[in-house]
């Protein structure tokens, strides 16, 4: 009898404890909800403020003439023709070098290389390289390409430098995408008598392509915004001419001269204008930044569209 009463009291105690604990847990939950929301908003609001400020300062300066004029001492007449053409050409060279090499390295490391201490070391170092400050790549390129190999302060050197910079990103993304391809797909093809290369080419790569493209997008976006390594290798800040056109009227009609021409790129042009006194050049810089943003988003858009198309081709 007495025992039953004690137990009853204990049960009531437990219910009380549970109630107070639950109230406290709910409060913790509320607090985290608010903190999380605040953290998200800080990021979003700051970004939005930045974009709005950029648009207010830069949009009035945007015009057809701004895109087709060379830089000038007079802010109102200055344009970004050399800069955006330079940016596109440098990125073209970067992509042509970095994508095939990065994807090939990723495939080799994932599909062919033996697993041992060497490949482990390579794996760790490739990931580390992705985090090396870009100025280091600039210094390396200055010593190795500009002075060592004599490639000059050219579009080719710039493309090569940025390619080195984004190679780790592409290699890591390629490896991750390949690793995500189910083993059953490889076995299916091997079981039919496909060679390792046929398995890779016909099945693994197509299945991994969307992931590879994501890596390419991230890499290209990073390269487009880089300034430091290009200044290091001697990009010019004032260019009043375009590189040699790749297509010529005379035989042999195609010219690679543009690769060894001097250049500038959009972020360098913007940086140069920002450091000048006066509001007029500041709005030029903002307008150039908007164009850079549009090019980056445009290239990303193309890559995302490509990725969606590739996914549709895969009939999962």
């Amino acid at each position: 009898m007495a025992e039953t009463a004690t137990e009853f009291v204990h049960a009531a105690d437990r219910a009380g404890v549970r109630r107070t604990r639950n109230a406290r847990r709910r409060k913790t939950e509320q607090v985290f909800r608010v903190v999380g929301m605040a953290a998200t908003m800080i990021g979003l609001v700051a970004l939005a403020a930045l974009l709005i400020d950029l648009a207010i300062t830069g949009l009035p300066r945007l015009s057809y003439a701004f895109l087709t004029n060379f830089p000038s001492r007079r802010a109102a007449q200055a344009g970004i023709l050399a800069a955006w053409v330079g940016s596109l050409l440098v990125i073209l060279v970067t992509a042509l070098i970095a994508v095939p090499i990065g994807v090939a390295a990723g495939i080799y490391l994932e599909e062919y290389a033996p697993r041992n201490r060497w490949t482990d070391a390579i794996e760790i170092n490739v990931s580390n390289l992705a985090g090396v400050p870009s100025i280091i790549y600039g210094l390396l390129a200055l010593g190795l390409f500009v002075y060592g190999l004599g490639t000059g302060r050219s579009i080719f050197t710039a493309g090569l430098t940025l390619a080195l910079l984004i190679l780790p990103v592409i290699i890591v993304a390629t490896r991750e995408a390949i690793r995500a391809v189910p083993a059953s797909l490889r076995e299916a093809a091997l079981g039919l008598g496909a060679t390792d290369w046929q398995v890779t080419r016909d099945h693994v790569l197509p299945a991994a392509m969307p992931g590879v493209l994501t890596g390419v997008i991230i890499g290209i976006s990073r390269a487009l915004g880089e300034t430091a390594p290009l200044i290091t290798i001697g990009a010019l800040t004032f260019i009043a001419f375009l590189p040699t056109p790749p297509l010529q009227a005379q035989f042999p009609f195609v010219s690679l001269q543009w690769l060894s021409d001097p250049f500038t790129v959009l972020p360098i042009q913007a940086f140069n204008w920002v450091s000048r006194p006066g509001n007029d050049f500041a709005s030029n810089a903002a307008a150039a930044s908007i164009v850079l943003l549009v090019i980056t988003l445009g290239l990303n858009g193309v890559a995302i569209w490509l990725r969606a198309r590739l996914r549709k081709n895969l009939k999962w």
């Binding site: 033996p114 697993r115 189910p182 059953s184 797909l185 490889r186 076995e187 299916a188 093809a189 091997l190 079981g191 039919l192 008598g193 496909a194 060679t195 046929q198 016909d202 099945h203 197509p206 299945a207 895969l314 009939k315 999962w316």
Partner: protein
């Protein structure tokens, strides 16, 4: 009822053994330091279904994968002993595993069609081996393979559709058609029905019985009822050893080894 089936099948099992297609002699398989198969010797006849049964992890799939050298793809795996097909050592220095696998087809546990169209799934094997000289040729091979796999009637109007849209049972029959398209002599099946419902399983089992006429079939299953239904010969594996091997009737009605008996009567596994 089972007895009748055994007697009918028994004849095929006994007479076929005279012409062993696959002969294994003292096969050992190691994964690193761990031994997965110990001294396995067995003869497998043509134009018959041989079933490997046994509890999970007993080495039956490992042995199956020795026959088309799929174990080569696992870096830590080491195979010793003699394994011959038509008297020719398939682990010999002159044997190209890629060429071997075009003669020894494989169907896997989980249906694994390529993420391509139904047509391209079946056409892939003939394409890489150059079996078709033109488009009409290829269409003929694809149609014939799908017919042999009993899938033609269901897919003939939608060969361009994604293979992943088929049901599980249809996908597995597509995988069988894909294997047949390369014109192999041997077809290995690694628990081909374990991911399928009973109706799809029954269809695959019927198909296996049809295929027996033209191929040497080896099927791994942990359902001994399935082994009893589809096979003429049965080999029982346990803990990396081939415990007992013989006609399916003998294994199921008069097992010599107590371990086989215990497994078949459901005492373990």
């Amino acid at each position: 009822m089972l007895d009748g089936a055994f007697r009918a099948a028994n004849g095929a099992g006994e007479s076929a053994l005279a012409l062993a297609k696959i002969a294994a002699d003292g096969i050992n398989v190691h994964y690193g330091a761990k031994q997965a198969l110990e001294n396995v010797s067995v003869q497998i006849p043509s134009n018959a279904v041989t079933a490997f049964i046994g509890p999970s992890g007993c080495g039956k799939s490992t042995f199956l994968r020795c026959i088309n050298r799929m174990n080569d793809t696992i870096a830590s795996c080491r195979v010793t002993g003699h394994l011959t097909i038509d008297g020719h050592d398939i682990y010999g220095a002159d044997v190209d595993p890629v060429e071997l696998r075009s003669r020894v087809g494989m169907v896997f546990q989980k249906p694994n069609p390529f993420p391509k169209s139904i047509f391209d799934n079946v056409a892939y094997g003939p394409r890489i081996h150059g079996l078709a000289t033109n488009k009409a040729d290829m269409e003929q091979i694809v149609a014939a393979s799908l017919q042999k796999a009993g899938l033609w009637a269901e897919v003939k109007d939608r060969l361009g559709d994604p293979a992943m849209g088929l049901s599980g049972g249809q996908q597995q029959r597509l995988c069988i058609a894909r294997a047949i398209a390369v014109d192999p002599e041997i077809i290995l099946m690694d628990e081909p029905c374990s991911a399928l419902d009973p109706i799809a399983t029954a269809r695959i089992e019927e198909l296996i019985d049809d295929l027996r006429q033209s191929y040497c079939l080896v099927i791994v299953t942990h359902s001994f009822a399935q082994a009893a239904r589809v096979s003429q010969r049965t080999a029982f594996f346990h803990l990396g050893l081939l415990v007992e091997e013989g006609t399916t009737e003998q294994i199921f009605s008069a097992p010599r080894d107590t371990r086989t008996q215990d497994y078949i009567t459901g005492r373990f596994g």
